[in-house]
C-alpha cells in the first residue's frame, strides 16, 4: 500500500440558499482555494473525481457543466460518482494506490435550494415499493429514531444535547450555517416536526461545496508540513429495503469501522456525518467510540449539511485539525441513503 494523505481542504460558505450563483460559480472559488493554498498547479493533478447529483439542482448533466470550473484543458483524467464526494475520495484513493499518479483532486457540491429536498430525496428509494409512496427523508428518519427510542437506550433529551453541543461547536466554524447557544431544555420544549423528531434533530438544508487534494508518499510531504495520512478507508452498504434492516444497529458502519481499524488505536476526535441527532448515537455505537472522544468539533452536519459534500467535509475538517497539529488520530465518516444505508469510514493520522 502507498501512503496517501489529505494535503489540502477548502469549502464554501454554507447557507440555506446561495442566491444568484449557479453551481459552477459556487464551486469555482473552492477549487481555486484548495489548489492555491498549497501552491499546486492544476497540471500536477493526475486525477479528478467529483460527487454530485443532477436531481438536486434539477438540471441534466449538471456535473458535466461543473467541469467548466475545473479547467479541463488539456484533457484531464476525470470521474464522477452519484454519491457524497467522500466516495469520490475513495475512488481517487484507489487510483493513487494503483501508483500511476501522485496527486488527485476531489470535490463535491450541491445546490439544494432550487427544489424541495425532502421530496427530491424520495427519488433515491426503491422505485417499485417505496418511491411511489413519496416518503420524505425526515419521516423515514423519524421511523428509525422511534425504533431507537423504543430500545430505551437513548432519549430525546440526549438528542437535544447533541444539537446544542453541535451548534455551540459551530461557533468556531466560519463556514457553518447554524450556530449559537441553544439551551437543550428550551429547544426540547418545541413541537415535534415529525415525531419523535423536532426541528433541532434535523439537519439544515444547505447549498455548498467542498474540495480536497490527496497526495501520495513524498509528494504529500512536499505539499504539506504535516499531511493527514489516510490509515484506513472502507465503505459498506446495507440492504436498500428498510424492512430487512436492523435500523438500530448500523451494520454497514460497524463493518466499515472495523475494517478501517478505528479501534486499533486511540481516537482523539471524530467528525461523524450524522445529519440527524439520533444518528450520532448510532454512529458512536457502531464505531465503538467512548465518552473520551471529542465529537464533531466543526459542528458537524447539524450545523451545515450540503448534500453530496457533507461527508467529504467531515474528512476535510478532520484532516485540517490533524494538519494543524490539534490531534494525532481521528476518524471521519460519511453516510448516504435513507436511514444511514451506506457508510464510509476514514481514519486519519499525523506523524
Amino acid at each position: 500500500m502507498r501512503d496517501v494523505a489529505v494535503v489540502s481542504f477548502a469549502q464554501s460558505e454554507h447557507a440555506r440558499a446561495l442566491p444568484g450563483v449557479n453551481e459552477v460559480e459556487m464551486l469555482m472559488p473552492v477549487i481555486g482555494q484548495v489548489r492555491d493554498q498549497i501552491g499546486l498547479d492544476k497540471s500536477r493533478v493526475g486525477f479528478t473525481c467529483s460527487g454530485s447529483t443532477d436531481y438536486l439542482a434539477g438540471q441534466a448533466f449538471s456535473f458535466v457543466m461543473t467541469l467548466d470550473g475545473i479547467g479541463a484543458w488539456p484533457p484531464i483524467s476525470e470521474s464522477h460518482v452519484e454519491m457524497d464526494a467522500a466516495w469520490a475520495l475513495y475512488e481517487a484513493w484507489v487510483k493513487l494506490q494503483m501508483g500511476e499518479i501522485d496527486v488527485a483532486m476531489v470535490y463535491g457540491y450541491s445546490k439544494t435550494s432550487p427544489g424541495d429536498l425532502p421530496d427530491v430525496l424520495t427519488r433515491q428509494l426503491d422505485p417499485y415499493c417505496y418511491a411511489p409512496l413519496w416518503p420524505d427523508s425526515v419521516s423515514l428518519a423519524a421511523l428509525q429514531a422511534q425504533a431507537l427510542l423504543d430500545t430505551g437506550s437513548t432519549s430525546e433529551r440526549e438528542w437535544a444535547e447533541i444539537a446544542s453541543r453541535s451548534r455551540a461547536s459551530a461557533k468556531n466554524n466560519p463556514n457553518a450555517q447554524l450556530k449559537g447557544d441553544f439551551d437543550p431544555d428550551v429547544i426540547l420544549a418545541d413541537e415535534y416536526l415529525v415525531a419523535p423528531l423536532r426541528k433541532h434533530d434535523c439537519p439544515p438544508i444547505t447549498d455548498g461545496a467542498a474540495a480536497i487534494i490527496l497526495a501520495a508518499d513524498d509528494t504529500a510531504r512536499e505539499l504539506s508540513k504535516r499531511p493527514a495520512w489516510i490509515r484506513g478507508l472502507e465503505h459498506r452498504i446495507d440492504a436498500q429495503s428498510l424492512g430487512v434492516r436492523d435500523l438500530v444497529n448500523v451494520k454497514s458502519l460497524q463493518l466499515a469501522g472495523s475494517a478501517a481499524g478505528v479501534s486499533t488505536g486511540k481516537i482523539d476526535f471524530a467528525e461523524l456525518h450524522a445529519p440527524f441527532t439520533y444518528q450520532e448515537v448510532l454512529a458512536k455505537r457502531a464505531l465503538g467510540l467512548g465518552a473520551d472522544v471529542q465529537i464533531n468539533p466543526s459542528g458537524g452536519a447539524l450545523a451545515a449539511n450540503p448534500m453530496m459534500a457533507a461527508g467529504l467535509v467531515r474528512i476535510g475538517e478532520a484532516a485540517d485539525r490533524i494538519m494543524a497539529g490539534e490531534g494525532d488520530r481521528a476518524v471521519a465518516t460519511a453516510t448516504q441513503g435513507a436511514c444511514m444505508q451506506q457508510n464510509l469510514v476514514c481514519v486519519l493520522e499525523g506523524e
Binding site: 442566491p19 444568484g20 450563483v21 449557479n22 459552477v24 460559480e25 469555482m28 472559488p29 477549487i31 481555486g32 492544476k42 436531481y55 439542482a57 434539477g58 438540471q59 457543466m65 467541469l67 467548466d68 470550473g69 475545473i70 479547467g71 479541463a72 484543458w73 445546490k111 435550494s113 432550487p114 427544489g115 424541495d116 421530496d119 427530491v120 427519488r123 422505485p127 417499485y128 418511491a131 411511489p132
Partner: protein
C-alpha cells in the same frame, strides 16, 4: 415460500404506474443572468477570461480552459459566420419546425465560441461553412430575457468568411 392465503387467486401485479414530478426554481447564475438581461435589450453579452483572453457566449461564469471566473462583459455582434451545420430531416415529438430545416453553429463576430441557431430565408442546400449570417430578432415589444428573442439567422449577402477566421471552430 409459504403462500399468503389472503392473496390466493389474486391477479399478480406485473406493472405499476408511478408518476413523478418535481418542481425547481432554476438559478441561471450571475454571468448567464447578465447575458439574459442583455438579450432583453437586444444586446449579446459575452464574458472575457483574463486567463486566456477568450470571449465566451452564452457565458456560464467560468473559463472552461483555465477553470477561472470570467467577469469582463463584452458585447459581441449579432452577425457572424457559420462554422458547422446540420440539415434536420427527422421528425420528432414536440418539433417546432417543419422538415427539412437547418441548425447551425454561428461564430458571432467578437466571440470565441460558436452559438447555436437556425438558418432561414435561404435554400437549405446552400448553407455552408463560412456563410455570413445575421440575427433576425423578434419585434421589440416581444423582447424578453430569453434566447428565443433571436428567431433565426439569415444570410447577409456578404462574401464568405476566409477559413483562417474560423478554422479553430470547425
Amino acid at each position: 415460500m409459504a403462500k399468503i392465503q389472503a392473496l390466493e387467486g389474486v391477479e399478480p401485479v406485473t406493472m405499476i404506474d408511478a408518476p413523478a414530478r418535481l418542481d425547481y426554481t432554476f438559478t441561471a447564475g450571475r454571468a448567464t443572468s447578465r447575458f439574459l438581461k442583455g438579450l432583453e435589450k437586444k444586446k449579446l453579452l459575452g464574458e472575457r477570461s483574463a486567463a486566456t483572453g477568450k470571449v465566451y457566449i452564452p457565458p456560464r461564469g467560468a473559463d472552461p480552459v483555465a477553470g477561472v471566473p470570467t467577469d469582463e462583459q463584452v458585447e459581441v455582434a449579432d452577425c457572424g459566420t457559420v462554422t458547422s451545420f446540420c440539415v434536420v430531416n427527422v421528425k420528432f415529438y414536440g418539433q417546432a419546425m417543419e422538415c427539412p430545416y437547418v441548425c447551425a453553429l454561428v461564430l458571432l463576430d467578437g466571440a470565441d465560441v460558436a452559438m447555436f441557431g437556425l438558418i432561414q430565408e435561404m435554400p437549405y442546400e446552400d448553407v455552408h461553412p463560412g456563410l455570413r449570417v445575421e440575427a433576425v430578432w423578434v419585434d421589440d415589444n416581444e423582447l424578453s430575457t430569453t434566447l428565443e428573442n433571436i428567431k433565426y439567422f439569415r444570410p447577409t449577402g456578404q462574401e464568405d468568411a476566409p477559413l483562417e477566421t474560423y478554422k479553430e471552430h470547425v
